[in-house]
């Protein structure tokens, strides 16, 4: 889901860069430095996630993990994802350097969105928390696919065609991530609930 170098036009890259900068600024301000270890662990998980590859017919897609990054970090997902994407771009050449801002917005904005949508639900009883965390993982990839379609709309022909293609190609990823997020949140609730959002540390 990383956009390569040379695909997007100047204005789109510039807008993406500005939005990513704004999001990162907010994220850094709201970052609890006592919890910086969490942020870096989740950033590393995101960094490695794109290496896990799911074969879908003719194309190949990879895990994104922005759901769990979002629900655990909130706005701090922006700097975490920005750092991980920069390192992926430099070391693995995933995604162009100029498209860094756009790629960050595509992956971090759904993470923050799901944080606001599902944060209160995680605190509830077990069943609601599981469903909410499944939806977090599912919808964060879904929204990321939509945003990918939006950013490509100025280069590709048809927004609906591209979006449908991306959503269908990433559907297995959505399911896998939903299940993964559900298991992670269930585990954390039992073992270490202070790490979850909304708990006062």
């Amino acid at each position: 889901m990383h956009i390569s170098e040379g695909i997007l036009s100047g204005p789109v890259l510039f807008t993406g860069g500005a939005l990513a900068a704004a999001g990162t600024a907010i994220g850094l301000k709201r970052l609890d430095y006592d919890r910086i270890a969490n942020v870096s662990i989740l950033s590393s998980a995101f960094f490695v996630a794109s290496l896990i590859h799911v074969n879908v017919g003719p194309s190949s897609v990879h895990l994104i993990l922005n759901g769990i990054v979002g629900i655990l970090l909130g706005w701090a997902a922006f700097p975490a994802i920005l750092v991980a994407l920069t390192l992926q771009s430099v070391f693995f050449q995933f995604g162009g350097i100029t498209a860094l801002g756009v790629n960050t917005v595509i992956m971090a904005l759904p993470a923050v969105l799901c944080y606001y949508l599902f944060r209160p639900l995680i605190k509830q009883n077990h069943l609601i928390a599981m469903i909410a965390s499944f939806l977090t993982g599912f919808l964060s990839v879904f929204f990321a696919s939509i945003l990918l379609g939006v950013s490509l709309v100025f280069t590709e022909e048809n927004f609906w065609e591209v979006s449908m293609l991306v959503i269908m190609a990433n559907f297995p990823v959505m399911l896998i991530e939903g299940i993964l997020t559900a298991f992670c949140i269930a585990f954390l609730k039992k073992v270490h609930p202070t790490i979850l959002p909304g708990h006062i540390s």
């Binding site: 390569s4 040379g6 942020v39 960094f47 490695v48 794109s50 290496l51 990879h62």
Partner: protein, 246 residues
């Protein structure tokens, strides 16, 4: 407070160093216990580490197009990093000034070949959909030397020599009648080309394999990236500690 050795013998200096290092270490550990999630983070970290070790087959996500020239044809191969072939994807070829020369499509095995349109620098661009793009530049050096011209020069030289000696024409005719059948220059050229092709083919395949860009990321790159992230965490924690001390 630290109780260091006063007399400055080499042994004492070494022991002092060790005491100072140990003091820093204990301070660091005491600081780290402030992080509530230390145990959890360690668990997640070890799980991550193990999963990296067992990734093995894990693939990555960029698209690569690789091209080489053989004779009059340019061959291209397109893959996703990880080795999966890019099927039925559009390919465009541009010249050094950005003018489009031709376009085509990769076949079921990710390959696409075309006749050389011009012996100059060319850029081959692959669009694999969903925002993936790869490119490869063919330089002047990738093209071989022109062999036909040398042969043409040789032939014209032969014609010249027979034309400028009408007086010894009779001798030449005699020579022709008694001439032993020998190879013409074209036949020699064909034989040499065929032998060269046979000998060079295995070498060229090996060379192309070496030149092809690396598809899957190295484990060393993974560790490098994680190292940088942990380094940033350390810097952030250090400045947080400094700020809190004030």
């Amino acid at each position: 407070m630290l109780r260091l050795y006063r007399t400055k013998t080499p042994m004492n200096i070494f022991l002092n160093g060790e005491l100072i290092f140990r003091a820093f270490l204990t301070k660091g550990i005491n600081k780290m216990t402030k992080f509530r999630s230390k145990k959890m983070s360690l668990r997640i970290f070890y799980t991550l580490l193990f999963s990296i070790v067992f990734i093995g087959h894990a693939y990555a996500h960029k698209v690569i197009v690789f091209a080489w020239v053989e004779g009059n044809t340019v061959y291209t191969e397109s893959k996703f990093s990880g080795g999966k072939k890019v099927k039925n994807a559009p390919i465009e070829v541009f010249d050094a000034h950005g003018k489009k020369l031709l376009d085509g499509q990769t076949d079921e095995s990710g390959k696409f070949s075309f006749k050389v349109p011009q012996k100059n620098e060319m850029k081959i661009v692959l669009l694999a959909g969903m925002g993936h793009r790869g490119e490869w530049t063919i330089t002047r050096d990738d093209f071989g030397e022109e062999i036909e011209e040398n042969i043409k020069n040789m032939d014209s030289k032969n014609n010249m020599s027979t034309q400028t000696s009408p007086m010894i024409e009779s001798k030449a005719v005699h020579k022709e009648k008694n001439a032993i059948p020998c190879l013409t220059s074209e036949e020699i050229q064909m034989i040499v080309e065929k032998t060269l092709e046979k000998q060079m083919n295995p070498l060229l395949t090996k060379l192309n394999k070496l030149l092809a860009p690396n598809t899957s990321p190295d484990v060393s790159d993974i560790f490098a990236g994680i190292g940088y992230i942990l380094g940033l965490m350390g810097i952030g924690a250090y400045f947080n500690y400094r700020r809190k001390k004030e």
